[in-house]
């Protein structure tokens, strides 16, 4: 009774051949799934309230295309790929360089957002309370920006650790997850940009 | 087929002559409610059959296959893993039933929602407030509260069309014998219609939770013959009775109180819009959206402190002195 029917060799091969996905991967994928749903709710709200503001300012009066900032953010996705590649091949110097570039590009994006908001708030007098455009604009762009901030914090932690001589090569998997998250933040920007600055701008 | 059985089960009080306090959804007296009942009976019949069959099967299984003394404990029953035919059967049959139900729903939905107003219909704008109803007759320029007078539509040609909206939060119009619910939503106008077949008073409730006194946001629809309706309308359209010289002192007292900030009495200085229009207060059967029957005693109680019959309502306790109260009540009672 205490012995199963399995033949030893049989079970051994089964054990040896047993391959399951990496749990970190699954975790991060589903984190991204939840986050995507969260973002889509804000995107939908933006679209529903498009052109529904009762008072100005309206998008066409105040919004300017953040072209440079967008280019920076999207290229940071490229930079982090290079960094990753360098790390995989154990070229630490190159890794640090590309990692720093990623951080700088992301930081520039954030700074550009801050400048944009400053202008909107102090020159155009558009706040989150002004009208539906303000409400949906600040919440959607702000939600994205908060994700950029979180990403930057993690990127910076990794950078500082590397500078301090922490053997980052041993954490390749975690670096990879971070870069996925960063790609996700960039991809969301593509959607936010399309919705806010392209679909939302005319009229 | 279900009617007798259900009406025994759902026994309600016998209504007095004028008032249907029945809110039984299976005793409709208007087309939308009747169509809803038809759909309901069909669905009830189908689901009842499903219930009897399935519950019967479960019962049979439980009784038949219970473990009995003397069963061979060591011998496991035959291990059956499934059966494609049987499983297909209990997938396909429900699919068929569901399609029938979808068809029924679609037809009744269209019949109620897409009906177009007949030419003579009365139009009403019903505005929900926390916790009373503002009733407007745009074609007649009349504003009143809490009671909707409509003509009877025994010929099916005098339906009443209601536009529904709200001044604050969401409420819902529900007079079970006339029609199912339609919400009153701020910033949006909804439509519904009723065509009461018999004269009488039909009671309804606000059916969407709207704050403290949601429970006491009752509504009356008073259906009357065209003549009665027209008579009522012309009486209501008159401004308030100011001619009675005996009451001028009372009227002055009332006018000096802050009541006028919230209540409208047409033809006087009272032009508030926050509370119900009081121009013809005495023509209404209840006070405070149905919490009290409208009589002297209750009116007094209400004006003295509305927070007692309707705690939390948005009319504050006015703290009138005895003489003021007497004057106000006698004035209000002149508002026939």
């Amino acid at each position: 009774m205490a012995h199963g029917h399995l033949v030893a060799e049989d079970a051994l091969t089964m054990e040896r051949q047993w391959k399951l996905p990496d749990r970190g991967t699954v975790g991060i994928v589903f984190l991204i799934v939840t986050e995507s749903v969260l973002f889509s709710m804000f995107v939908i709200a933006y679209l529903i309230y498009l052109n529904k503001s009762l008072v100005g300012p309206y998008p066409k009066d105040v919004l300017e295309l953040p072209i440079l900032a967008s280019i920076c953010l999207l290229s940071s996705s490229g930079a982090i790929v290079f960094a990753e590649h360098a790390l995989k091949h154990n070229r630490l110097g190159s890794f640090k360089l590309w990692w720093a570039v990623t951080i700088l590009l992301g930081a520039y994006f954030l700074w550009a957002t801050a400048v944009e908001w400053r202008k909107l708030i102090f020159e155009d007098h558009l706040t989150i309370a002004t009208n539906l455009f303000g409400t949906t604009f600040y919440s959607l762009v702000g939600l994205h920006a908060s994700h950029v901030i979180v990403g930057l914090i993690f990127l910076t932690i990794v950078f500082v650790l590397t500078l301090l001589g922490f053997p980052i090569q041993t954490q390749l998997r975690r670096v990879l997850f971070l870069s996925w998250y960063w790609h996700f933040v960039d991809a969301v920007w593509v959607i936010v940009f399309t919705v806010v600055y392209i679909i939302g701008l005319p009229r | 087929m279900f009617e007798p059985a259900l009406s025994v089960l759902l026994q309600t009080q016998v209504p007095n002559v004028h008032e249907f306090r029945i809110t039984n959804i299976f005793k409709p007296l208007a087309s939308p409610a009747a169509a809803e009942r038809t759909a309901a009976y069909l669905v009830l019949a189908i689901t009842a059959v499903i219930f009897v069959v399935v519950a019967g099967l479960i019962c049979y299984t439980i009784v038949r296959f219970r473990r009995r003394p003397g069963d061979n404990e060591l011998q496991e029953p035959p291990q059956v893993y499934g059966s494609n035919q049987i499983e297909a059967a209990w997938t396909v049959i429900p699919i068929l039933i569901v399609f029938v139900l979808i068809g029924v729903s679609a037809r009744v939905i269209a019949a109620i929602q897409n009906a177009s107003p007949p030419p003579q219909s009365v139009k009403i704008l019903l505005v929900g407030h926390q916790w009373w109803w503002e009733v407007r007759y745009p074609d007649y320029g009349l504003v009143t509260a809490n009671e909707i007078h409509v003509p009877v539509s025994s010929d099916g040609k005098h339906a009443t069309y209601l536009q529904l909206t709200s001044a604050d939060v969401i409420h819902s119009f529900w007079v079970p014998q006339l029609a199912g619910k339609t919400d009153l939503i701020p910033n949006r106008i909804n439509y519904t219609w009723i065509d009461p077949r018999q004269p009488g008073v039909y009671v309804g409730n606000c059916a969407e939770y709207c704050g403290t006194q949601h429970a006491n946001m009752l509504l009356r629809v008073i259906a009357e013959s065209s003549e009665e309706f027209n008579a009522w309308m012309s009486a209501q359209r008159k401004p308030a009775n100011n001619s009675d010289t005996q009451l001028s002192a009372a009227q002055t007292v009332f006018g000096s109180l802050s009541c006028v900030n919230c209540h409208m009495i047409r033809g006087t200085s009272a032009i508030g819009a926050f509370g119900p229009d009081l121009t013809h207060l005495m023509s209404r059967q209840t006070l405070g959206a149905g919490v009290l029957v409208n009589n002297t005693e209750n009116l007094r109680a209400w004006v003295n402190d509305p927070q007692i019959p309707k705690p939390g309502c948005l009319m504050p306790s006015m703290k009138l002195t005895g003489p003021e109260l007497n004057q106000v009540i006698s004035y209000l009672q002149s508002l026939k």
Binding site: L132 | R67, V80, Y209
Partner: protein, 559 residues
């Protein structure tokens, strides 16, 4: 050969005496999935009693017309806190608790994929719950009701906006639920990662126990359905604190948007809540029928189908908001479609019992109660899905009766079945069967006595969420009977509490495999050691212990 076999010989859980503070520390600091699971279930039970007492007060208030037990404000807070607690602080932690405790054991794993995330999930859930209840103390102070939320469990805007909900009661609602929602998402991601990545050798998805399958789909639903609620709550908080206009109708905001967001979450949520019961039934019924689950692939397909269809039916809660006739028809149709896979489940459970040898333990009794009651609940659900019928029934006591039949008659019955079934495994003692039968019969009678009459009250036009009603509408009898039923329910639950306490302290010790089970949790000791399995098991079918116990007729021969 023995080395790679099922480890039927395991050491007992670590012995030794611990001081109170050591024990406390061990529980608070634990990352063990079993302890976290038990903590989830225990806190859910406590919230069940608290919210049940609130329900009792409501029922006493409504027992007679013109009731004067509580005032309108108190009553409104009662049903809001009752509903919110039952859904977010009883139902959700039960999902997490059962999944946490059982999934790793059933798939032959030593722990969850992310043990620390797991403990984070529990504590943040508890924080959210306590924050919600702090509202009774905060704001208005200890006297009276404080400022507990009074906007209903779905908190329709604009009633929750600054202008209509002053003070902080709605903030407590939004924040408390938002925070505990993060915990649910964390634990759901964890369950998904665990089932994908931690299965023992041989346990393909096809062989995974039904329980694990259902919990997997459940977690998937949590992951995709909770964010809309979180988003809506963030929007509401922005409205309330920063003056944003999402739901501010004065500035053009939409009151209906909140309803859409809430129910895009809210409808999947009700299936999230019922799935644990489905999961439990799918384990308990086969064991006490001594037959494998009938039509396993169809059962899996059915949960998957429910999991997907339920994402597209939300507006059946909104038939009265004035949607177009096309939308109404669409949502009526999609809602009824859910009945088909649900029917498959009911039929297959019945077929599992058919031809078996039913052993009516308390656990199986609760399953049978479930079958009848959930059948009725589902059929009243179909009535509600017929939009024209729903125009009459919406927001009436009929709806209250419908969802208590699903949630109490379904979910709570299922949970009790699960507790009677796995208690020996978790605690190492048997629950007393006689007390269990008392519990079952009292609770079953009480439950039906309470909620069957409420269907009739609803059909007679009684709206829900009213703190009082005038006599003469024909509602008196039904309300009276309903309230009487609650006392039977209380008696039943008191039997349960007594049973749990007594059995824990001096119950009959449980063997490792008291029910002659077939899934892996019965292959380790009761209670299992911290690392669950000394040797990871290797399986070849969905009933590994059946294979072990019936070497002549193992399941894997049929695969």
């Amino acid at each position: 050969m023995a080395a790679i076999d099922y480890p039927l010989q395991r050491p007992k859980a670590e012995p030794g005496e611990f001081s109170f503070s050591e024990t406390l520390y061990k529980w608070v600091a634990t990352v063990d999935h079993k302890r976290l699971g038990l903590m989830y279930v225990a806190s859910a039970l406590i919230f069940l009693i608290v919210a049940g007492i609130m329900a009792t007060v409501m029922r006493v208030q409504l027992m007679f017309p013109n009731g004067h037990v509580v005032g309108p404000d108190t009553f409104n807070r009662l049903f809001t806190m009752h509903g919110t607690s039952m859904v977010f602080l009883v139902g959700m932690p039960m999902v997490a608790g059962f999944a946490n405790y059982l999934v790793p054991l059933m798939i032959g794993a030593r722990d969850m994929a992310f043990p620390r995330l797991n403990s984070f999930g529990f504590w943040i859930f508890l924080l959210g719950g306590l924050l919600l209840y702090y509202s009774y103390l905060g704001g208005g102070g200890l006297s009276g009701d404080g400022s507990a939320p009074d906007v209903g469990w779905f908190a329709y805007a604009p009633l929750t906006e600054r202008g209509f909900s002053r003070g902080h009661s709605s903030d407590y609602w939004a924040l408390g639920v938002l925070v505990s929602g993060f915990g649910s998402i964390a634990s759901a991601i964890n369950v998904i990662a665990t089932t994908f990545c931690m299965r023992c050798p041989g346990m393909t998805l096809k062989r995974m126990p039904m329980f694990v399958w259902v919990m997997l789909i459940d977690s998937w639903l949590i992951v995709v359905a909770l964010p809309p609620l979180s988003a809506a709550q963030v929007m509401l908080l922005l409205d309330r604190y920063l003056g944003a206009n999402f739901f501010n109708t004065q500035n053009g905001g939409s009151a209906v948007l909140w309803q859409h967001y809430f129910w895009i979450f809210g409808h999947p949520e009700v299936y999230i809540l019922i799935f644990p019961a489905f999961a439990i039934l799918s384990e308990v019924i086969p064991i006490f029928s001594r037959k494998p689950l009938f039509g396993r692939p169809a059962m899996v397909a059915a949960v998957v189908a429910i999991g997907f269809i339920s994402l597209g039916v939300w507006a059946h809660h909104m038939f009265a908001v004035g949607m177009t006739s096309w939308s109404n028809t669409f949502f009526a149709a999609s809602s009824m479609l859910v009945g088909i896979p649900t029917g498959i489940k009911i039929f297959n459970w019945t077929a599992t019992m058919y031809g078996g040898r039913l052993r009516f333990t308390t656990a199986l009794l609760f399953c049978c109660g479930f079958l009848f009651q959930f059948l009725l609940a589902g059929l009243t659900g179909i009535m509600l899905a017929v939009a024209p019928f729903d125009w009459q029934l919406h927001d009436s006591y009929f709806v209250v009766a419908h969802f208590h039949f699903t949630l109490v008659g379904g979910l709570v019955f299922g949970l009790f079945a699960g507790m009677y079934y796995w208690f020996p495994k978790a605690i190492g003692k048997m629950l007393d069967e006689t007390l269990g039968k008392w519990h079952f019969w009292l609770f079953c009678i009480g439950f039906n006595l309470t909620f069957i009459p409420l269907h009739f009250a609803g059909m007679l036009g009684m709206p829900r969420r009213i703190y009082t009603y005038a006599p003469g509408r024909g509602w008196e009898l039904w309300n009276f009977v309903a309230t009487i039923g609650v006392f039977f329910q209380i008696a039943g639950i008191l039997f349960f509490i007594y049973n749990v306490l007594r059995s824990t302290l001096r119950g009959q010790p449980a063997t490792d495999d008291p029910w002659d089970g077939w899934t892996l949790e019965w292959a380790t000791s009761s209670p299992p050691p911290e690392y669950n399995f000394e040797k990871l098991p290797v399986v070849r079918s969905s009933r590994p212990l059946w294979d072990l116990k019936h070497p002549q007729d193992p399941d894997w021969k049929w695969e």
